[in-house]
């Protein structure tokens, strides 16, 4: 981390930073850990997984479709994986 960006510390020129972050350093580190852990360079996987669960939840509001949702779930997940992989392949090609 850049020395001048550390909240509450004296800046390189000797003045105290007047605009320290209200978020403690350990909390930011904790948040950054989970961000990297769950999202990292593949936000589409996180968004895709949340979207799949959301779609399944909507379908399951009708009890008669709950078995159909079991067959749909792996297809949707496979679609998310495929999209992410081809996104990576496209990035490589460009």
């Amino acid at each position: 981390m850049d020395e001048e960006q550390v909240p509450g510390r004296h800046r390189a020129d000797g003045r105290r930073d007047d605009n320290p972050s209200v978020v403690p350093g350990w909390l930011r580190a904790f948040g950054r850990f989970w961000w990297d852990f769950l999202i990292g360079d593949t936000p589409e996987l996180f968004v895709g997984a949340v979207a799949v669960i959301g779609v399944l939840a909507m379908i399951c509001l009708r009890p008669g479709l709950r078995t159909f949702a079991a067959f749909l779930a792996p297809v949707l997940v496979a679609g998310v994986l495929t999209a992410s992989l081809y996104r990576a392949a496209r990035r490589r090609a460009s």
């Binding site: 949340v50 399951c60 078995t67 949702a69 992989l85 392949a89 490589r92």
Partner: protein
Amino acid sequence: MVIAAATPTGSLVLVTAVFLASAVEMVEALTIVLAVGVTRGWKSAFEGVAVALLALAGLVVLFGPALVHYVPLSVLRLVVGGLLLVFGLQWLRKAVLRAAGLKAKHDEDAIFAEQVAELSEAPPASGRDATAFSVAFKGVFLEGLEVVVIVITLGTTSHRLGPAAAAAAAAAVVVLIVGLIVHRQLSGVPENAMKMGVGLMLVSFGTFWAAEGVHVNWPGTDLAIPVLVAFYGCIAWLLVASLRHHAAEVPTGLAASGDHLHG
């Protein structure tokens, strides 16, 4: 509703997933520890490993039972299923890219050489070697955190925290023994194949539990898990074949494009 992994089939898949995930991460940690031990001495390296293992075990003991006792099972399944789904998709994506030749494979020999070179540059220490301790600690703790998340999520949701933790510990022991025997030849471990297997199982468990959390009705209850593993295995095989064809047409390497994934 039958709890997933309450039957021998589910338990076997769960224990296998935890064992393989733990083994993969422990191979990566062992590479770092070996580099520390060879260059800086073994005493401080082992101290770093011991403290890291205690800290990881403490996390499992602290958070595992708490999740089981204080979080409703339906909520636990939904949240844990979602976590495992995301986590598993990341592992599977990386394994498919590597198998297709679109991402550089994990080279333990290169990582070992790089660690040795970095550690050799640090000044020698008298008494306890803080560099050796901290590098060994961080290597084991950071690699082990993924294992802890897998043990806690799989173990608590299936009410099999004990077997999940035992599988992780067994993998650590097996990797340690193999590591001591083969010493610096960890590159021979089929790491990508193991990651592919772990990814398939995590995605399968994740799909199963996240869907159960929103009241999906699985035919055959937990027998659906091995079916999901087989389905995702076929999908992964098709994707590897398709992307390998794509890689042959485009000659540049993904490894150099900054496509970073942890784990």
